[in-house]
Amino acid sequence: MQYMVSVITDKPGLATEQEDAAIDVFNDRLKAEGYWVFAGGLGGPDTATVIDSRGAETLVTDGPFLESKEYLIGFWIIEAPDLDVALALAAEGSKACNRKIEVRPFL
């Protein structure tokens, strides 16, 4: 079963050197133990563009679809047998990147 492990932040700016190092260690562990599927960091909300093609014309809007103090800044996709394993890994990931984490299953 795959889980999306989203990194939520409320502080602008990239990860610190220390956070980066901790994330590397965590990533290595995910790979070594077979949980790793994919991971990546994202640009902040000011780099977002919203596209809406539901109507006749395509609408292009600058900015995130939802303005909020906290936003998505990166994610892991992990393969885990159940939620307990996913949550335990997310707890370590949160420590490594020093940010809040949201866990959701892929359906």
């Binding site: 079963m1 889980y3 047998p81 159940d82 939620l83 307990d84 996913a86 949550l87 866990v103 959701r104 299953p105 359906l107």
Partner: protein, 414 residues
Amino acid sequence: MNSADVHEAITRVHRDEWARVVATLTKRFGDLDVAEEAAAEAFATAVQRWPEDGVPPNPGGWLTTTAHRKAIDRIRREDKRDDKYREAQLLYDDDPPPAQVGPIGDDRLRLIFTCCHPALAIESRVALTLRMLGGLTVPEIARALLATEAAAGQRITRAKAKIKATRIPYRVPSEQDLPARVSGVLTVLFLVFNEGYLATGSDTDPLRPDLTAEAIRLTRLIRTLLPGDGEVAGLLALMLLTEARRTARVSAGGELVPLGEQDRGSWDAELIAEGHRLVRERLAAAAAGVAPGRYQILAAINAVHSSARDVRDTDWSQVVALYDQLVHVDPSPIVALNRAIAVAELDGPEVALAAVDHLAEALAGYHLFHATRADLLRRLGRSRQSRAAYDKAIELAANAAEIAYLTRRRDQLG
């Protein structure tokens, strides 16, 4: 067997076997929904058939077999409709059958941990536990939660959907996670008990013995399943000693009777004896070096009260010493408030009031903070301030019997 006997037999079997049937089926089919529905159908079949056919010699076995058949029927129907049905399964423990036979291998224990999983909202844990383990109906759960039936039903449905979609496992947590997870289960049971012990709502009965009884029953079950867990024993003892005072706690006029004014002769001696046995068991463990948790300490405090034949015989220094221990485990302002109440008996209301006033900021919205202040101010002869504190306590209180008591106390002020 007449129909009243059959009815009574069904009620008893429902109480004793519901959780086991649901747990066994969840294990077999890996799906709470299927298990719950099949168990409900099996009991409905029993209600239909037993008055005519008689109660089978092994009612639990009969129900499990019947529920099993119902579940297979349903899965066949669903399979036809949706091939993907079985893909989104609750994860059950598919390790080889455990070597240890006994409580830890009991499916009901798995069910408890699934229903009380920390990824579920606390209200959902309560609702799910009452449904899956307690066998309460949705209307009964709605009454327990003071929610509408639609809202209670939705809570259960959503919780089951989350368990399924996120694969909340159906197993006893690893040894490393066990203490935290057991503590989560006990929180759920204590919440159920407390709602029965001091029901919220001005038009609700002040006591809900159905809820305290259910909480005790489920805690007893967990005690059988985890006999070595000190906090489980502690919570059970705490509930039993509290329940023992139930009838003495509300007067004929519907007013709350505080501990010091209760008719101790009407306390339930049997429950007290059982509670004291558990407390002694935990004291022996503590003497052997096992640090007691909060429920064990709370139970010990209650045991000091239930050991005193008259309120004047209460060993207050022992109560304060236990609160000192509790503050270490749980440094919350509510514990500090309760400690101050005991301090008033030992060192006088003035010392206690100073301690209580320290908590003003943290507990400004808590009715018992104001009620405690009101009582201490009254004892110090500061009527005007006492009255203001009673007013505030009455405004914040939610229990009908408590409001009646506080109002009378306020009106008695000179």
